[in-house]
């Protein structure tokens, strides 16, 4: 290999060219593992942020040569306390591109291909090119989407999974001093949807509290953000809040302070205002380094079989001492993404379409974002409601108030649900008559 120098892989080779009692039972020590990593194996890294920067470094130094990275963001000054492939001069440029340039320059022979794009911009054929996918995302919706994509790519023959259609996914997440890493073998081990309840529920303040009975500084800021801004239109009609615009933030901060003073509430500060408006999650270099390292180690194990991969979830927290907890998250028997059990829901004829939509959003098992529903009537597709396209939303909005009977839905009817959390539409069987609790 022309890029190599004497001793370059000395450390790695000890694990690849020697076996040991704790190696994967299928492991065969040989120089071929390294050639596979160098010449054949392709890894996709999703996210070039806090975890992504560390992941690219880690994978490149482990010997993975062909890496792709997707990120839709550009670099912000507040990234620099941890996203170490970026400098002040790079602010404003696409993260994926700068990260790829840096790694390709620093690590000889490494070929990182950047994609300044959304994951939703790519189709199955793109994802099929990779041997392993690693996620360093801060969005649960994006995680769920890629999870759905990988499950949708599984092929079965006579009910038996075709192993060559399986792409392992290694997923990491961090928040402050906490983090987690997991290995998902789609169709075999617990997937992201199987363990949806592991994500903490998003905290939203009730509108009546914000409007009438503020008690916390956050309530005051939310009042200005949600109610006062659309009313006063401080920067003109149709101009929404830009969390990165200091003028916008200053206005919100001052109005929040005014409201807080009116109610004798203490604690509204510029930093808090910024945090609430931009929904900032605290982040440090150290936690990202830890979680990315765990994820990259797992990629190494999966690619080379030098050890058994993590089975299948690790939690980390170093607020008080250093705490880790490793366990096997269980596959959910009727998981909407990875089980073949059809989803059913029970409603009564007098329930309205809106009740179904609300259920899909609020139910802990589904946690959808903006579900759209279609069905089939006499062999023809009929859109009952769709939020994502404005013109269709307007045309179907009336249906929300109609009862299921008025919409002509019958017991056993199949409803097809689309949502940003998944690339595939889900089929639900409507069970009319016995309303579930």
């Amino acid at each position: 290999m022309e890029d190599d120098w004497s001793g370059r892989w000395n450390h790695i080779k000890k694990f690849l060219e020697r076996s040991g009692p704790f190696a994967h039972p299928d492991f065969e020590p040989s120089p071929e593992s390294l050639s596979f990593m160098r010449d054949v194996c392709r890894i996709l890294v999703i996210g070039a942020g806090g975890l992504g920067c560390d992941l690219l470094k880690d994978l490149a130094l482990l010997g993975f040569k062909n890496l792709d990275v997707i990120d839709m963001d550009t670099i912000d000054l507040s990234n620099l306390n941890r996203q170490f492939l970026f400098r002040v001069k790079d602010v404003g440029r696409p993260k994926a591109e700068v990260a790829a340039e840096f790694i390709n320059t620093r690590i000889q022979g490494c070929n990182v291909i950047p994609h300044y794009a959304k994951i939703q911009d790519f189709e199955e054929s793109f994802y099929r090119q990779f041997h392993i996918i690693v996620c360093g995302l801060d969005s649960i919706v994006a995680r769920r989407w890629i999870n759905g994509m990988l499950i949708g790519m599984l092929k079965y023959e006579d009910g038996v999974l075709d192993q060559s259609s399986l792409i392992p996914m290694v997923d990491g997440g961090t928040e402050g001093f906490k983090g987690n890493a997991r290995v998902v073998l789609p169709g075999i081990t617990a997937c992201i949807e199987c363990t949806l309840d592991l994500y903490p529920p998003q905290i939203n303040f009730p509108l009546c509290t914000i409007a009438h009975t503020p008690r916390l500084p956050e309530h005051c800021i939310e009042y200005v953000r949600v109610l006062l801004w659309p009313k006063e239109k401080p920067f003109g009609d149709g101009i929404g809040i830009d969390g990165d615009d200091p003028h916008h933030l200053k206005w919100i901060f001052e109005k929040s302070l005014e409201r807080a003073n009116q109610y004798h509430i203490l604690g509204v500060s510029y930093r808090l205002t910024q945090g609430v408006v931009k929904r900032i999650i605290p982040a440090v270099a150290s936690t990202n380094a830890v979680i990315a390292a765990v994820c990259a180690t797992e990629v190494f194990k999966i690619a080379t079989s030098c050890y058994l991969p993590l089975n299948n979830y690790m939690n980390f927290n170093d607020t008080e001492g250093i705490y880790t907890y490793t366990f096997e998250a269980e596959k959910k028997e009727n998981c909407m993404a990875c089980s073949s059990i059809p989803q059913t829901f029970a409603f009564s004829e007098t329930d309205k379409l809106k009740d179904i939509i609300d259920y899909l959003i609020e139910s802990p098992a589904y946690q959808m974002k903006s579900p759209g529903i279609t069905t089939s009537v006499n062999g023809k597709n009929k859109t009952l409601y769709m939020q994502t396209v404005k013109s269709i939303e307007e045309k179907t909005r009336e249906n929300l108030k109609k009862t299921l009977k008025e919409l002509g839905l019958v017991d056993g009817q199949e409803l097809y649900v689309a949502d940003p959390t998944t690339p595939n539409s889900l089929t639900f069987r409507l069970n009319l008559g016995s309303k579930m609790e």
Binding site: H11, K14, G20, F22, D58, S78, R215, G275, I280, P282
Partner: protein
């Protein structure tokens, strides 16, 4: 009012650049970080990864001490060494590439072997806030740790060996009061309501309120009232078991208003009162960790050298023993709850005011104690932490170095965190290496199972050190000696366990696996230790959060880890 005005540009940039971490350790934590001088011994992959995670958040300066030249394998597993640097000074190349990470941080290096430097100029190391050492052999480590222990300079030792990571912290005494615990029990005092709380609750009358007020009365007040009612019926005793608490909840349920048709109204505040009953009835008492601090000789025997922490701990103890009547100062915060703004804020004020009163009593005790140990207004005490924020007139925080006596603001912060103060004392290397140490005997508890926990790797790494002492090489270093090294390492292990007086059977599998490692440093194990080690350094420097005590083992094969006190 614009907080941005009057500050220079670099300050604004720093606020923005460090925003995501300032939300965790605050401006005062950052200020502490920015004055820190860190020394790294050996620019191995582990060493540079640790430094990366300290330079990014903005320590003041770092110095790399390393006498080696870059080898091909160094450039292969270290992000801060390149192919072009092979043959050059490892200290210099790593320093240059590390310094590039953050223009606010000053980097420096010394091309010299750490052990030689220790012999010729040991005080070189005493100038640092903390020393981080990687891949030191046992002999050099002993010298270094003994020296720094005597100089009271914290030392963090890190090592990555195959799929195993290891850390050991040496710090004589580390006191923390901003430990930022994850889940804190609310301090509401319903079991021992203070007069102002009683007065406030008594001023509200659930029976005569409008239904709007009824459904917007804070649950704290509701629970207080029902608790008094319960006590009236039960010889002044609070519910003290599951059954009785459920009965109280039943009473609360009956208190929910009904509409004209007799259907229960939606009274979220009563629901909250019922949900919070168990939590709110937990008796207020001094946590055992704090009790331990109260009984610590440093607390009971103050002297002229006592630090601010111990003076305040003692003032706290005296408060608890006297006017606190067995309880810590009231924390002064209440959780959010369904309520109208006015009464919620009033109730919050009741708690805040009580907290301020308690803190001022503690403050009087602090002044008395200072006087009793002969400290006058012009003297200094060892500060609580490097920097303390003080609220300036406009409600924002400004920074000043807290030399001199203990400020009111410090005392208030201390009282607010009274339930979470911590003291960490690590044992020295001499104590660890004492073959008669009871801590070594306790290892048996980890290892006597069929499946030992990760503590087994501590024993194995000690055996590896012994191997190195004897053969001047690591087991499995050379490809053609792996098998012969297995039996040699096994002999070292047997001797080690004999010296410790332990009769333990450690499976051969472990010895084989350690020889497979052959002292290889896998980049991602280094990266993991790079993350955790940096965070421990930050904890030590900022005196926020709680450092581990004192040995940490990471097993990348299984993604598990363990902390041992050795």
């Amino acid at each position: 009012m614009n907080t941005m005005e009057g500050k220079d540009k670099t300050n604004v940039d720093k606020n923005n650049k460090y925003d995501r971490q300032l939300r965790l350790w605050g401006d005062h934590g950052q200020a502490a970080l920015e004055t820190t001088r860190v020394c790294l011994i050996n620019a191995t992959a582990t060493g540079t990864e640790i430094m990366k995670n300290l330079i990014l958040p903005g320590i003041g300066s770092f110095t790399v001490v390393d006498g080696q030249k870059v080898l091909g394998e160094d450039a292969g597993n270290n992000f801060f060494l390149t192919k072009d640097s092979i043959g050059k000074s490892r200290a210099k190349v790593a320093t240059d590439l590390l310094a590039e990470l953050n223009e606010d941080v000053h980097g420096d290096f010394l091309e010299e072997d750490a052990e030689k430097l220790l012999d010729s100029n040991p005080d070189f190391f005493s100038q640092f806030s903390i020393v981080v050492a990687t891949n030191l052999c046992e002999r050099a480590l002993s010298k270094l740790s003994n020296h720094l222990w005597s100089k009271n300079v914290p030392l963090l030792v890190c090592r990555c060996y195959g799929f195993i990571g290891y850390m050991r912290l040496f710090i004589k005494e580390h006191t923390v009061f901003e430990s930022h615990p994850d889940n804190t029990h609310e301090d509401l005092r319903l079991d021992r309501p203070f007069p102002a709380l009683v007065q406030y609750c008594d001023s509200l009358h659930l029976e005569t309120m409008t239904s709007k007020d009824h459904s917007h009365t804070p649950w704290l007040v509701i629970l207080y009232k029902y608790l008094q009612e319960w006590k009236k019926q039960h010889n002044c005793k609070a519910p003290n078991d599951y059954k009785e608490r459920n009965k109280l909840k039943e009473m609360l349920k009956k208190g929910i208003h009904r509409n004209e048709e007799g259907v229960l109204e939606d009274e979220e505040n009563f629901e909250e009162a019922i949900r919070s009953t168990n939590m709110a009835l937990v008796p207020s008492k001094v946590p055992s960790e704090v009790e331990k601090i109260f009984n610590d000789p440093s607390c009971t025997n103050l002297h002229s050298e006592s630090s601010a922490f111990w003076i305040m701990a003692r003032a706290l103890k005296d408060f608890v023993d006297n006017e606190g009547e067995g309880a810590l100062p009231v924390r002064g915060t209440i959780p959010d709850m369904t309520a109208d703004s006015e009464r919620y804020i009033q109730l919050q004020q009741v708690y805040r005011k009580k907290a301020a009163e308690d803190a001022s009593k503690v403050s009087q005790r602090v002044q008395q104690l200072l006087h009793s140990i002969g400290k006058g207004a012009d003297d200094q005490v060892e500060p609580l932490r490097p920097f303390m924020p003080s609220p300036s007139s406009d409600g924002h925080t400004s920074l000043f170095s807290s030399v001199g006596l203990i400020s009111e603001h410090e005392i208030k912060t201390f009282c607010r965190n009274a339930a979470f103060v911590r003291v960490v004392r690590c044992r020295s290397l001499v104590e660890e290496y004492d073959n008669k140490s009871t801590k070594l005997q306790e290892l048996v508890l980890h290892l006597d199972d069929e499946e030992p926990d990760d503590a087994v790797f501590y024993v194995l790494l000690r055996a590896v050190d012994r191997f190195y002492e004897e053969y001047n090489a690591y087991p499995g270093w050379y490809n053609d000696q792996v098998e012969t090294d297995v039996s040699k390492l096994k002999a070292c292990l047997t001797k080690l366990l004999q010296d410790w007086g332990l009769s333990l059977n450690i499976k051969d599998d472990y010895i084989h696996e350690i020889c497979r490692f052959g002292a290889a440093e896998l980049h991602t194990v280094s990266a993991f230790i790079g993350g955790v080690a940096a965070q421990e350094v930050i904890k030590v420097i900022t005196r926020q959060f709680v450092p581990f005590n004192n040995t940490y083992i990471y097993n990348a094969m299984k993604q598990t880890s363990i902390t041992l006190e050795l």
